[in-house]
Symmetry: C2
Subunit: 176 residues, 2 copies
DNA sequence: CAACTATATGACGATAACGACATAAAGTCA
DNA sequence: TGACTTTATGTCGTTATCGTCATATAGTTG
């Protein structure tokens, strides 16, 4: 199996946050808000919307008022809200941590319990990472000679430690 | 077309750095050194090695001495070194910046000119990013009400600014 | 040596990614 | 209204991904 799709969850997240949206609305919000972390092409989006309607995760919003019969608006269904909730509640692991920013983006309420849960799990994960990376640096680059012989490796390992440490600090500052 | 492969370049980078390696050697180095940034399964690696032999990027190292006829060792060819060099020299953009750490990993010599070139391009890119992100935060989250209404979005945008600023500082400290 | 296990390599099927092309409704301007 | 452009949605072919199964050699233990 190829890598799992995240698109359906992001669609649910947007619809849950914003109410009614069309495909074009989603595309533009993807681009302006989260393109740093994740992108899709429209040729993935439209088939996905159809699939999700079939699965009753979302439905077409039938506005009698709307004159524009070209644009198709969608709203989230109860089943979709449950799917989203389960996705947000999935334990954060090394494998899925790249999705954490996207999950946070889907949570608008500052006091949602799931938000602090995510931040705490994320903190634990990255604290472990710092420990692991520091041990590795110690092991590999104890002497100056090793640094000179593998400078690129040394650079990215050093950077990883700083990056992760900075992230840990930030997470701690946002956890109650 | 699907997303382009990076595997061939990483293979060239490893062989260029380490000399003779087998598929299994590569797998284990992938895992220990760069699995933070990028992963492959062995079912991608072995066909790729064959393809690259066909393309004369690498060749099978015919050791008469070697007793172990199960393991296949490879070495880089002149064409492969050129391919690698061209890859490392590609301008860094928003699209390919996720590969920058992998590129650095392939450069062992601290005084290689390409290393500083990469760091400088990377710096320029992320400085722009900081400017852009700060402008967006200003625009979207000028008032406290907007923060409360979209807290997850506020969080990831704030984090992005800190992350990028930290990265910019680090890059500056490594540039001559 | 025989039998079993571990390991390095190889092959395949299902599906996700994504550029390119297609279509039809809406907008624009004469 | 007619011709042209723009845009929102839809479709397709190629190729990358990745779990799973397969194979053959090396190692190990009796």
């Amino acid at each position: 199996m190829p890598r799992p799709r995240v698109l359906p969850y992001i669609i649910l997240g947007l619809l849950n946050k914003n109410g009614m949206m069309s495909g074009k609305d989603m595309i533009s919000e993807f681009k302006t808000d989260i393109s740093e972390f994740w992108t899709v092409s429209h040729s993935q989006l439209y088939p996905e919307l159809q699939r999700m309607v079939d699965e009753k995760q979302i439905k077409v919003a039938e506005d009698v008022e709307v004159k524009d019969r070209k644009v198709i608006n969608y709203v989230i269904e109860a089943k979709g809200q449950e799917t989203l909730k389960r996705w947000l509640a999935e334990p954060i692991t090394l494998k899925n941590d790249e999705l954490t920013s996207l999950k946070l983006y889907c949570i608008s309420d500052q006091r949602a319990p799931i938000l602090q849960q995510i931040l705490k799990q994320c903190l634990a994960l990255h604290q472990q990472k710092v420990v692991h990376l520091k041990a590795r640096k110690e092991l590999l680059f104890g002497d100056e000679l090793a640094i000179k012989a593998n400078y690129g490796h040394y650079l990215i390992l050093s950077r990883a430690i700083e990056r992760e440490s900075d992230y840990v600090n930030w997470l701690q500052s946002k956890i109650n």
